[in-house]
Subunit: 210 residues, 2 copies
């Protein structure tokens, strides 16, 4: 394929993904069909199928992309700390950035869709779980092992402790929005205060002074 | 109305509610219509509408009933403690019973439906929020004020502390099931250990020895 043709193919693919993302987030997974996606992307239905085998594949690509990008950005903005960074400072940054990245209408709407379809379309829920909470919890568990070796944390089970940290930070805000809708997304200053208290609770229980 | 007629009316109402509950939990809210409910309840569609104005009213009745009963049962099984009951013991019982009552396929499936429909059908999500987490968090906040007055808890904001306790206990188990499906419901002994650690974390942060 020539470079020009490659660019065109890539552009078409991006158009389809953008159109499908918009429709899925607005209408849900079941409420969206490939005809509408083709129409909004201004391509033929055949072209959509040439790029994506079926609606399921297309949605998995979108969901994986959105959560993957959020996770990558989190990791970029909050790099693994050097041993000299105080644990409390690292945890607060970790929580702040995670709340900022996740508490957006688009990601929360995607989460809502994955929950809605989790029994009918289990790969979707699993994908979001792995790229969302699981990725974050695994990363924290690894870091906790290091801080434990440095004598700054005391815990028998770093993975369980990481899950508790995750839900201290994300549990209230995410679940409020799941049941009350996106108007329940708290203001940034409320999220900051929440993150600070979550870190304090965690360190009271697992910090080496605890 | 005679007593016999009242009993018949009440029986019909119960039949409709049972049929509708079964269908909603299996097929979702949008995927279920009043014809199917009438057929499964073995009554006419007119009879269904004589009891329930529309599908929305019927679903709110079911959702309110299911979460209301779970909340009532929780309050019955874990009465407000006398001042002589150690706080740690009360909190562990509170968490254990809440996990046992909520981590059931039916209530988690109802939660999934409420989340799926929260934007289209906001009364449903709101109802579940009020009768579920909010009821539990308000009750804890009141008890925390009392334990604070007794000098057994230290906290500036009992409502915020109650929300942290709620999500320490419920966050991991409930959200795992939302994304991974009901096979992810943990075994009772896993939930017990989880509740124990949640209480330990909470008291490390807010207990008067903290």
């Amino acid at each position: 394929m020539s470079n020009g043709a490659k660019t065109r193919v890539e552009r078409t693919r991006k158009c389809i993904l953008a159109a499908a993302t918009e429709l899925f987030l607005k209408q849900g997974y079941l409420g969206t069909n490939m005809d509408e996606i083709a129409a909004l992307a201004e391509v033929s239905k055949q072209t959509v199928y040439a790029h994506f085998q079926n609606k399921e594949t297309l949605f998995l690509e979108i969901a994986g992309g959105m959560t993957g990008r959020a996770g990558d950005e989190h990791q970029e903005q909050v790099a693994d700390p050097a041993d000299t960074v105080p644990l409390a400072q690292f945890l607060l940054e970790f929580a702040d950035v995670q709340l900022t990245l996740v508490m957006t209408p688009r990601l929360l709407q995607l989460r809502r869709l994955a929950i809605a379809e989790a029994e009918r379309f289990p790969e979707l829920g699993k994908l979001l779980y792995q790229r969302g909470p699981m990725r974050s919890i695994n990363r924290l568990a690894n870091l906790f092992q290091r801080y434990r070796a440095l004598g700054q944390l005391r815990m028998a089970d770093p993975l369980a402790a990481a899950a508790f940290f995750n839900w201290l930070v994300m549990g209230g805000p995410v679940n409020d929005v799941m049941l009350l809708g996106i108007e329940a997304i708290p203001k940034p200053e409320v999220l900051r205060a929440h993150a600070k208290e979550a870190v304090r609770i965690f360190l009271a229980a697992y910090g080496s002074d605890a």
